[in-house]
């Protein structure tokens, strides 16, 4: 083959280019510490790396979710422990009350203590974690339980519900409908307590004073036991938990009939929702991390359902009222109620405990996985520095060789030897 000088120059230029290209690639691998720096370096590797990165980011998120879920479950367990303790106290009081040797006054004292337990139970139900009320459902920025209890002032009852003070005339206005008690507030607003038979729903409705058909606001989902009978619940599809008591006094009036007057109102209002607080703990696997307050504290089994899953607040009210009225038999029955209530709480705690252990084992699995994924990622994308350094040296050598050979060859020509 005939070699010309422009061929030598051209080949040298392209050899230098090739060598430099390789050199820069090695240098990039060394300086970034990565062997895949752009998709075309290794398209399938890129896809794998991105998949592992996505897995890793998801795994880290799942770990955070689990961490968060565990603190919810732990808090739930702790509060249920507190609630069980309160029920123990109530049971002890019931044992005292049931032995038949106490005077009415002593029993009323016990009743007062039970009343205090109801207050404590409300506090337990309002347990929070980092500003979130764990029994309130999804919208958990506000305490879910409120005890609306009337106090007696001259001529009317005072009751605070949801921060509003209502002054209620003591007389019952509408008694024709047993499902509805309408109380008139002193500013002539009506508060209606409606027991809706179909869904066993109960509301407090605040009506407009000028237009009684217009509802200003409704507070749902509470009711009462004790002195009022609940409506027949045979055809009920949905059980709404209720608790509380409204005491109605009947007095003979001048015209020979009876006047019904509200003596006191004492209600547990649940303002949360039935939303389930859930955490996704691995792809597609979702775990509840709360127990719903309504279900735990205000469960209302239908007539055909297991009655040993009681409405805790209702049973406490029953105990209190039984002690107040000195009804030994009812007090004795309450012993069983308290036991049922504790078992009911235990059921929840067991369920939460099993979820906790599930989360904990998953947590350690995911932590392992995180370590493994990090290793895999490193294997996929990190360059072997030692190898890269040797490659770099090799390429540098061939680059230098190309330069020096080219430089020498280019300098030589027949001209050097002609006179």
């Amino acid at each position: 083959m005939r070699i010309t000088h422009s061929m030598i120059a051209g080949r040298l230029v392209s050899a230098i280019q090739l060598n430099l290209e390789g050199l820069v690639k090695s240098q990039e691998r060394m300086s970034t510490g990565k062997k895949v720096n752009r998709p075309s370096d290794d398209p399938s590797g890129t896809s794998q790396i991105m998949a592992v990165m996505a897995d890793l980011s998801a795994t880290r998120q799942y770990l955070r979710n689990i961490q968060d879920g565990l603190s919810w479950l732990n808090q739930g367990d702790a509060t249920m422990g507190d609630a069980t303790g309160l029920l123990h106290q109530a049971r002890t009081l019931a044992v005292q009350g049931a032995n038949g040797t106490l005077t009415r006054d002593d029993m009323a004292l016990l009743a007062q203590q039970v009343d205090g337990i109801i207050d404590s139970m409300v506090n337990v139900g309002n347990a929070s974690l980092g500003g979130k009320y764990i029994y309130a459902g999804i919208n958990n920025n506000y305490p879910p339980f409120e005890r609306a209890k009337s106090s007696d002032a001259s001529g009317y009852l005072q009751i605070v519900i949801d921060g509003n003070l209502y002054k209620i005339n003591k007389s019952v206005y509408d008694t024709s409908d047993t499902k509805k008690i309408t109380m008139q507030t002193t500013d002539n607003n009506n508060i209606t307590i409606t027991l809706t038979r179909e869904a066993n729903k109960t509301y407090i409705e605040e009506k407009d004073k000028n237009d009684p058909t217009k509802t200003i606001r409704t507070i749902t989902y509470y009711s009462f036991s004790g002195t009022m009978n609940l409506p027949d619940a045979n055809n009920v599809d949905e059980q709404i938990p209720l608790a509380g008591s409204i005491t109605i006094e009947e007095k003979p009036n001048i015209s020979g009939g009876t006047d019904k007057t509200i003596a006191s109102i004492d209600l547990i209002i649940f303002k949360g929702d039935s939303g389930r607080v859930q955490r996704e703990i691995s792809a597609g696997s979702v775990v509840d991390v709360n127990s719903n307050g309504k279900e735990v504290f205000l469960n209302q089994p239908a007539a055909n359902e297991d009655q040993t899953k009681p409405n805790i607040f209702e049973k406490l009210y029953l105990l209190r009222d039984a002690l107040n009225t000195g009804d030994y038999e009812s007090v004795e029955k309450s012993l069983g109620n308290m036991d049922n209530a504790m078992n009911w709480l235990m059921e929840h705690r067991v369920a939460m405990g099993s979820r906790t252990s599930h989360l904990e084992s998953l947590q350690s699995q995911l932590q392992d996985q995180e370590v493994r994924l990090t290793g895999v990622l490193s294997g996929l994308q990190d360059s072997d520095i030692a190898r890269a350094a040797i490659e770099f040296q090799q390429k540098q050598l061939s680059y230098q060789a190309a330069l020096s050979a080219g430089a020498r060859l280019l300098q030589t020509s027949l001209l050097d030897y002609l006179r």
Binding site: P43, G275, G284
Partner: protein, 531 residues
């Protein structure tokens, strides 16, 4: 007997020929680095010998040589190598253009890294997870909104960059067509010139070099067929494909006329309109002649950088479409979960005032006029389930998305104005979209998660770029090899030329010496004798 001064004539011819040869060598040396230059070679031929007539004929040994002349200055060139080099130039032009474009596309996607769109998608869903952990927390809602904005921004940014690349490729197509036109014009001029010079019996070596260089250049741009006529003029025609049939369109004709091309893009497909040298369209019957270019480029049948650029342009559009699909799919899925408003039958309310808040604005963007073939779709908001159904039903023909959406994706006004409109109760479901198979494959089956779809896009770009890199490496090597072979034949070697220079110098000196000897002889003969 020849005349007394016969020797002087031989010496004169020797001197002239050596001088000419040295001039040719000087021309070679001067053009050693000229691109496209072909080394020239003086062809020495002995001049016609001289037979002495007359009675004494037999006393002579035979015909007398009469010296030398340079009968031709030859271009040392191998036309078969030329053909090979040109076909390699075409391949190289194609892959080089494709590689250039794809490298730019690749730079738009900073993957694999923790700053790319893939990472933002992951963090977007993580933010929803966090929100689910505290569904009403305004801080976390703000975080979701911020990440939504970052995601939208990333989509828009990536899309705009791709669009810029596509636009610049379109410009480069116009430039290349202008180049082709200029070359056709110049070739036509050379045709006329060469025909004239050849007719007068000369060989236009340097014009031929110029023409060969232009043909090289033209072959790098488009595949052409060159026919050399007897009078050294050429006919050049453009090779193209109409469907699967190869066709040709004349570009340069031997008589000095030529044709011009004009780009036209319809439905995003490139075709070249043919004009005559005066600028009026060439007709085939009543239809103007147009050359379809896109299909041939996409099927890799055409060579040359014009096809390479067109191929890349269409690839970029394909990437943009995939990005649109991803952005639109993501927005549609998130929106439909985010609405969270159902009618009495439990069906999601997607229109009217009763529907919930859109997370992303889904107003149909208006795409470039003429290109928006797919936008018959759901302009306000589409139903999640309808979306799935839609994609599944239409299959490969119609993967549902709005063209150009990725360039305009943004949060809805309601989300932008008030973070409390972020729907915390749906956070878990939206976060769950991350692992759901949401994106359709070409058959319309939902087979990929958002991230997997994006990975597919990036890996596809990577594979395209890598393929182009490899191809460029191969075609480059082949081209270099062939160029070397051609240089080996036609290139100027300084050493060789210098050697020949010396050779011719000595030849000149020898002839000069002959003149001196003859002079001496004649001096003796004329001045010293018979006095």
């Amino acid at each position: 007997m020849p005349s007394t001064f016969f020797g002087l004539e031989i010496a004169r011819r020797g001197l002239l020929s050596s001088r000419t040869a040295m001039d040719v060598t000087a021309h070679n040396l001067a053009n050693a680095s000229t691109k496209g230059y072909t080394r020239q070679d003086p062809v020495f031929t002995a001049t016609d010998p001289y037979t002495m007539p007359g009675a004494w004929q037999k006393l002579l040994p035979g015909q007398m040589g009469s010296g030398v002349e340079v009968s031709q200055i030859r271009r040392v060139r191998d036309s078969i190598l030329d053909q090979q080099v040109r076909s390699a130039l075409g391949e190289d032009g194609f892959w080089q253009a494709r590689q250039d474009a794809l490298q730019r596309v690749e730079a738009v996607f900073p993957e694999p890294s923790d700053v790319g769109l893939g990472d933002v998608i992951g963090r977007f869903f993580n933010a929803w997870h966090e929100l689910n952990n505290s569904p009403t927390d305004p801080g976390l809602k703000a975080a979701v909104k911020e990440l939504g904005q970052e995601l939208a921004l990333n989509f828009r940014h990536t899309y705009t960059q791709l669009k810029d690349i596509k636009d610049s490729l379109q410009q480069s197509i116009d430039l290349k067509v202008n180049q082709i036109n200029a070359i056709a014009r110049e070739l036509a001029g050379l045709n006329r010139e060469i025909a004239r010079i050849v007719a007068s019996g000369n060989q236009p070596n340097d014009l031929l070099d110029r023409r060969d260089l232009l043909l090289d250049e033209l072959n790098g741009l488009v595949p052409v067929q060159v026919v050399v006529n007897k009078d050294e003029t050429i006919n050049v025609s453009l090779k193209y494909y109409d469907g699967n049939t190869e066709k040709q369109q004349s570009l340069v004709v031997y008589d000095g006329s030529y044709y011009q091309l004009k780009t036209s893009i319809n439905n995003d497909e490139l075709s070249l309109n043919v004009l005559d040298q005066y600028g009026s369209p060439v007709m085939d019957g009543s239809n103007p002649v147009t050359i379809p270019w896109t299909a041939g480029s996409e099927s890799f049948k055409l060579s040359g950088s014009l096809a390479g650029v067109e191929n890349a342009r269409r690839r970029v559009q394909d990437y943009m479409d995939q990005l649109d699909q991803l952005a639109y799919g993501l927005a549609a899925y998130v929106n439909n979960l985010h609405h969270d408003k159902y009618d009495s039958d439990g069906k999601l309310i997607t229109t009217g005032n009763d529907k919930g808040v859109d997370f992303f604005a889904l107003n149909a963007p208006t795409y470039d006029p003429g290109n928006n073939t797919d936008d018959n779709s759901l302009n306000d908001s589409i139903d999640y389930k309808t979306y799935l159904q839609f994609s599944t039903d239409k299959g490969s023909e119609y993967v549902n998305y709005v063209k150009g959406y990725a360039g305009k994706i943004d949060l809805s006004d309601k989300i932008k104005s008030d973070v409390n409109n972020v729907n915390g109760t749906q956070a878990l479901n939206i976060a769950g979209l991350r692992t759901e198979l949401t994106m359709p494959d070409t058959a319309g089956k939902l087979t990929a998660t958002f991230e997997a779809f994006y990975r597919g896009l990036v890996a596809g770009i990577g594979a395209d770029a890598q393929g182009a890199d490899h191809q460029v490496g191969t075609t480059r090597a082949v081209l270099q090899q062939l160029e070397n072979l051609r240089q080996s034949v036609s290139g100027v070697s300084l050493d060789e030329e210098l050697t020949r220079l010396i050779q011719f110098q000595y030849a000149f000196q020898a002839s000069a010496r002959l003149v001196t000897v003859l002079d001496d002889m004649l001096n003796t003969l004329i001045n010293r004798m018979a006095i």
